[in-house]
Each structure stands twice: as C-alpha cells, then as structure tokens.
Amino acid sequence: MPGYYDIDDIIMEEEAVSVVFHVGANGVGLLDPGSETNCVEKGAKIDLPFWLSQELCRRRAVSIIVPPCFNQKMKKDVQADAACVDLGTRYPYFYEFGCKIFPLVGDKSIGPFLRHTFASRYKEMLSKSHTASINAIPKFVLRLSKEEYQMFDAAKSSMVEYKKWRVSHLGLTKSSLLGHKRKTDSQLSPSS
C-alpha cells in the first residue's frame, strides 16, 4: 500500500478529474476559472484534482464523471492490441488511478478492465524485460505506465546485476593499450 510520503501516490492524486457539483458552493470561485461570481453553482461541471474530488465525493457534494482513460474508446483500443496502447505519456498512473477512482464512480466494469489490460500487457513485458539491453532504452518502455515501468526496471536491474557478478571474478580488465587510440597526424598538428 502506498505510504503517506510516497511521491508516486502524491503525483497520482494530482490528476485532474471532471466532477459535477450537486450543491452550490460559496467562496470557492477560484475552482472554476470561467465563473464570474465567487461561487460555484449547482450542476456546474469543473475539473478538480483527484485528492479534492475524492473528499467532496465522500461528502456527497459532487459526483465524479468517469475519466477519459476508462471510456469506451480506451476499452476498444485495449481490446484491439493492449500492448500498443501508450499509457506512459498519457496516463502514467493508469492502474493506481483506476483502483482509487473505481469505488467512487458507479462504473463496475473498470475493475475487470484494469485486470484485463494488465494481463494482456504482462506477456510483452515478460518477454522483453529480462533480455533488454543494458544501455539502450527499448521503444516499448516509453509506452509502459509508471507501475509497469517499475516491474520492467526490477527485471532489468536484476539481470544486469547477475551479468556483472558473472564476470566480476574473471579479472578480465580492459588493457590500458586498448583505451588509447593512436592520434592521427592532423590531430597532432592542427592546421590553423
């Protein structure tokens, strides 16, 4: 479970969600950039950060609209080819966000949808993460969400550590001769 000081959790809760106000609220005009008075009217639709809408939703002051990352279009994208959906740039905290918002919106399909998405993306991660090259970042990594990236990184670093261990005792050090390239004549005497 994420802790109070977990930075990922904090960033995830900054995510904006659209809410509909059920009650009028005075003195909070700054929440609604379009309002002319200093209050939010009943029925207004406003984007709020998740941490605020969560609390307001518990108090029945607002209701949360299902965010675009769980709408029908996204579901179709995942159905078509889950591994190709770009979560990394669009919804970096897709799974955590889904788990948190799921009890607050009435849409029960989000839970199975999250699981389906993860299960279908897991295979690609499994086949690629242990064999990933040490230096270059493969293209598919950019598509991974933050949670998936942590898994990928764990696999990669354990493999890197193993490879390091395997050669550490061999005493195969690079010869100092190999490091020096012979300088060409032009470098020795630069023409000015």
Binding site: H22, V23, G111, A119, Y162, R166
Partner: protein, 221 residues
C-alpha cells in the same frame, strides 16, 4: 535475513547468493599435512597429502588459492553428465533437470579458482552456459501462463540463482495481479447499475444491494 540488500522486497544480490552457496560441501585432495580444523560450522580434516576429504566450498577455495590442495570436480560437472542434462533440458519443454540447487554459483567459483583441476574446462564452461540459457528461456515461457487466478507458481528443480534473477519482477507482477483480482476490484459486472435507477429491480440480491445504494446516492442527493 540480515544480509539482504533490499529488505522491502526480500531480494538477495548475486554475491549474497554466492555466499550461501559457499557452504556446500566439496571434495579436495590436499598436498599438505595439517591438523583438523575445529570451526563453528564443523570439524574438517585432518589433512594428509593425497588423502581426499570433504570441506565447505569456501575453505576449498581458500586452500586452493594458496596452492595447498586440488579440488575434485563434482560428478555433475563432467562433460558427459552436462551433455546429458543439456539434451534432456532441450527435449522436455516443461520440466527442469535435477541439478544442485547452487549449480550456477558452484560452477562459477570452480571455473574461476580451480580451472586447472577441471578436465575439458572450456567445454564445461560453455555447456553450463548453454544449460543456463535453455533453462532461463523455459522459466520465461512458464511464467507466461500467470494470470489473475495465480497466487503461487511451482517450479521444480529451479536453482537459487535462477530464482533470484526472476524474483524482483515476479514479486511485483504477482502483487499487481493480486491487487487487480481482489474481490473489491472484480465484482461481477452488474449490468443493471449502468441503466437508469428505476429500471433496477430491487429483488433479493443482498450482495449487490448495498453497492447499488451507494451508486444511486450520488445521483439523487
């Protein structure tokens, strides 16, 4: 364990696994005369020239480094045995061949420190490398079958180092599957919840009744 480098996910680093492997017993042939060693982990010796005796791997390596003994290669590290194992590994796509639990670490320690005691050392080295690659590929294809209903994976005859490599990834994956498969997350999709409230029947379905009430409370404050 006190020696774990990352206690939060219970991960051993590769040198830590090697440390554990050094307690395995191995046969050496000393070329010195020395009294028995009475250590906390047991009594070893006495050491007489050309008389084989069993010692832990760490002691064997320490003696070997000083040129006081030669190490007898274990049976499983012979070229014939390893060739058999490699063939069997390639033939059975699901099963792992029984090898010592620490075969990766032991073979590396012996190949590094006692390569002059191993017959056909290059062959042995490449065979072990091949076996490890074949087995690791098998591990990966075995783990592909994991889905939401998996809570544990049984991998018979897997060795310490192989487990250690996949552990960080697998622990996280299983945690994620467990989270997404928990009963709160996967309630049966209640189609009526998506329709208008008045269409919902209020029949005897206590399991959904409570949830439904919360859902409607938002709509009609």
């Amino acid at each position: 364990m006190a020696g774990q480098s990352d206690p939060s996910l219970s991960i051993f680093s590769a040198p830590e696994v090697e440390f554990l492997a050094e307690d395995e017993m191995i046969e050496i042939v000393p070329n010195i005369r020395m009294d028995a060693l009475n250590l906390l982990c047991g009594d070893f010796g006495p050491f007489l020239p050309q008389i084989a005796c069993k010692v832990p791997l760490w002691l064997a390596v320490a003696l070997k480094k000083r040129g006081k003994c030669s190490i007898r290669t274990p049976d499983w590290m012979s070229v014939e045995k390893l060739t058999q194992v490699l063939e069997a590994e390639r033939e059975s796509p699901r099963e792992f061949q029984p090898l010592p639990f620490h075969y990766v670490e032991i073979s590396r320690l012996l190949l590094d420190h006692a390569h002059d005691d191993i017959p056909e050392v290059y062959m042995v080295r490449s065979l072990i490398e091949d076996i490890r690659n074949v087995r690791f590929h098998k591990v990966e294809s075995g783990l592909e079958t994991i889905s939401g209903r998996t809570h544990a994976v049984k991998l018979k005859n897997l060795s310490a180092m192989e487990v250690n490599i996949v552990r960080p990834f697998m622990v996280r994956v299983l945690q994620a599957f467990y989270k997404h498969d928990s009963p709160e997350m996967v309630q049966q999709v209640d189609t009526s919840a998506n329709k208008r409230p008045q269409v919902v029947d209020r029949g005897p379905r206590p399991a959904f009744g409570k949830i439904w009430y919360i859902a409607t409370a938002h709509r009609t404050p």
